[in-house]
Amino acid sequence: MASSTMNHVTTFIPPFDFHQVFIQPWTDYGTTFVWVAIMGFLVTTACGVIGNYLVLRRMSLVGDAISHSVLPGMAIAFFFTRSLASWPMFIGALGAGIVTTLIIEVIHTKSRVKQDSAIGITFSTLFAFGVILIVAFADKVHLDQECVLYGEINFIPLYPFTRIGDAAIAPEPVFVMGIVTLFAITLIMLFYKELLVSSFDPGLATSIGLNPHLIHYGLMCLLSVVVVSAFESVGAILVIAMLILPAATAYLLSHRLPVMMGLTIVHALLSSLVGLHLGIWLNSSIAASMVVAGASLFVLAWWFNPDQGLLWRLFKKRLDPIYAGERDPT
């Protein structure tokens, strides 16, 4: 039994071949993997930038909820318009995002159910509803239910290219994602001050005349748009990782929001590239591999960051008995 198990494991992990894993994807397949990498980078950047605010506002799990509940929004938008255009999808997702936020609020303000339970109930119901819609009406079509969960970033290069005039720019999803990413970054830069103040000091924000509800719903709308455009490449659950992981990693490494934003983008770049190669090597889902790479980066930051990293603390504890009792030096 044990030897057979060992056998499984050794055949399970493919042999590592540097040329095949790192060189071939860029030389032998034309632009295929370039687009996959760009898509991964765009998705992680857009998600990560918004994720910063989610982590700071302690709303990570609202992100979790919205990423699940855009599914019925998309399905309903499709059944109404029967088109694949991005606009109906965005509107469906926006509607779903707002409805989710509203339902969560209604449940936990109008009854004694707490917010965490309200989040859990809301998104699971909406997600289940979305799955039922898709399975019931699209059964003959064969939609991989799994695709909903982890997406198919590998298909991205196969979409028809968006053309402006005669020039083919990029595969459609990459093009749309690029616009959404730019849009998200522009909005965040425009409303930087408002978001900053309302995230760190809601009381001050209210007293200087900002409307926290408006900002909250605005952020949720932006989140829904980003999530829906990321949906087909990474699915409903991996997108949570892309929302939280870069921001959490950056949060450990810096105390300043602009630096965190920069680090988020670095994290996005590294995780999409490393993830791509990891996925090719292990022959596994590339989107999931990108998340695994991102998670590894987080673990690195968690253990080895010079400020409060686990390892460092262990050292300091040994060297400095006074430091030993202190958890947070700031």
């Binding site: 295929t32 159910v113 339970s117 699209a138």
Partner: protein, 511 residues
């Protein structure tokens, strides 16, 4: 056709590797889905989707002819029990989303269990999933303790990262030659029909174990859930209980995995328990109710999934549970919003009515009850409101037979019953004012506001006590006579409308 596409979908990476570009014409999966979705929809026959005879399917379900069906139903009921029980604890502890994180975190364990000997060995999967789930909860605690990240971020990260590892492993398994037959994908959305006898036995053992542990350590869990500090003070091992709870939680998630799927297990934990939480204040009742709701949701899911030709079970179970929650949310006798708003509405209406009766009484009192009829103008003046409003309220009361109109609808008269009611309200009001000045030493000009509120809810018994304590007073602090028990009792006929009951002392909660 379907099979062919599914294979292509899974093999896309190896295809790239071999330099084989036969997928150039295949757009993304979502695109595929949406494109083909238009075809059956143009025909627009929902009946087409489920061609087999629904009635026949339903009969098959309820006669339990299929052994696989019996297993599916039994499994769903068992998972309802174990999830309902454990879910209650995480809901009252406000760590509901720990269930969510845990349920996603088991995925790599499931995949590793598969990998152990490439078959669906329930025991290997059980062990792997439990270990992965526990590792997930430990990592959450560890991140929370050693970084400045908050619980929500820690939960979200563990959830998604573990899930990603699981997906990596599963996609790797599926790309192996034996992968397609493995059925590992059933763990994502659940398929109760795929439960085997072995699975059921495992589920039964785990559920019984959970029930046994919870009932033995019930007191400890109870105290630790509601007041951890107190529990620690009286010597319960709170940390050990927490870890035990997490272990049981992992058990129940693993038990439920195959029928509900990884993604939606958390709903089976949270939703029935939250519904039960709205219905009762006692933990033991909540446990029982939650288990019952879980069983109901499980049975509904199993039935609908079977009915619709082996659709995934999980989403249907979740919808069943959500329906229960929705009912509790709307109609729970104490916390339901519909019931509460109706109660509120009734109370407002009753207070309005009583205030109107009281104003009429005051107008009559001011002229020493000389003429029985009160004119609309007088009443409006006394109430300091536009005459149209008064007219509207009076019309409402006339419709309820509380008042009668005379002389060209100009004069308003009490009926015997409503006069009695007015006396009761005024008596309540003035007794309370007197009580506040005499016993609580309020200034006489500060007592009116308070008495305005309390007059509607004082019961007969309290009023008797007040009278006794105040030695059957005749005058209130402002020198106005308090309608005595005689005024109230002498009136005929006796009060018999339900609306009057509140003022006579019983059933103040009813209206």
């Amino acid at each position: 056709m379907n099979v062919g596409k599914r294979k292509r979908g899974y093999h896309v990476v190896p295809a790239f590797r071999n330099g084989d570009h036969r997928h150039h014409g295949v757009p993304g999966l979502l695109f595929l889905f949406f494109f083909y979705a238009t075809l059956p929809l143009q025909a627009a026959k929902i009946g087409d989707v489920v061609q087999t005879d629904l009635a026949e399917q339903a009969i098959r379900f309820f006669t339990f002819k299929d052994p696989s069906l019996r297993y599916a139903l039994l499994g769903s009921l068992l998972l309802g029990i174990s999830c309902g029980l454990l879910g209650s604890f995480i809901v009252v502890r406000k760590i509901a989303l720990m269930g969510d994180a845990l349920s996603h975190a088991v995925l790599p364990g499931v995949a590793a269990g598969f990998l152990w000997n490439s078959t669906k060995d329930p025991l290997a999967i059980f062990v792997g999933a439990t270990l992965a789930g526990l590792l997930g909860t430990l990592v959450v605690t560890w991140i929370k303790q050693t970084t400045k990240l908050k619980e929500d971020a820690a939960l979200g990260m563990v959830l998604a990262s573990f899930f990603a590892v699981g997906i990596c492993l599963i996609t790797m398994i599926q790309k192996r030659p034996t992968g397609h037959k493995s059925g590992v994908d059933k763990f994502l959305f659940g398929q109760a029909a795929a439960l085997s006898q072995q699975d059921i036995i495992l589920m039964l053992v785990t559920t019984l174990l959970s029930i046994a542990i919870i009932s033995i350590l019930y007191k400890g869990f109870l105290v630790a859930s509601f007041d951890a500090g107190f529990a620690r003070a009286i010597g319960f091992p709170v940390k050990a209980l927490h870890h035990l709870l997490m272990l049981l939680l992992a058990f129940s998630i693993v038990v439920a995995l195959q029928a509900v799927g990884v993604v939606l297990v958390s709903a089976m934990l949270i939703t029935p328990a939250a519904a039960a939480y709205l219905l009762t204040d006692r933990m033991h009742r909540m446990l029982v109710l939650s288990a019952l709701f879980g069983m109901f949701a499980g049975a509904v899911g199993a039935f609908l999934s079977f009915w619709g030709n082996n659709m995934p079970t999980g989403p249907f179970m979740v919808m069943g549970a959500s329906a229960v929650f929705m009912c509790a949310f709307l109609f729970s006798p104490r916390h339901g919003i519909v019931i509460r708003s109706r109660r509120h509405q009734n109370r407002t209406r009753r207070i309005q009515r009583e205030n109107m009766l009281k104003s009429i009484y005051r107008v009559l009192e001011d002229r020493d009850f000389k003429d029985e009829g009160v004119s609309l103008t007088e009443l409006a003046q006394a109430r300091r409101e536009p005459i149209e409003d008064t007219q509207k309220y009076v019309a409402d009361l006339v419709r309820l037979d509380d008042l009668t109109l005379g002389e060209n609808d100009n004069l308003i008269y009490f009926t015997p019953a409503s006069y009695q009611h007015a006396c009761i309200i005024v008596r309540n009001h003035r007794l309370w004012e007197l009580y506040l000045t005499n016993e609580a030493h309020y200034a006489a000009d500060h007592v009116h506001e308070d008495a305005e509120k309390i007059e509607h809810i004082l019961g007969e018994e309290t009023v008797r006590l007040l009278e006794k304590k105040l030695r059957h007073p005749r005058l209130d602090p402002h020198g106005k006579p308090i309608p005595g028990i005689k005024d109230v009792a002498d009136m005929t006929p006796a009060i018999n409308r339900p609306g009057d009951r509140a003022a006579t002392g019983c059933g103040e909660r009813r209206l």
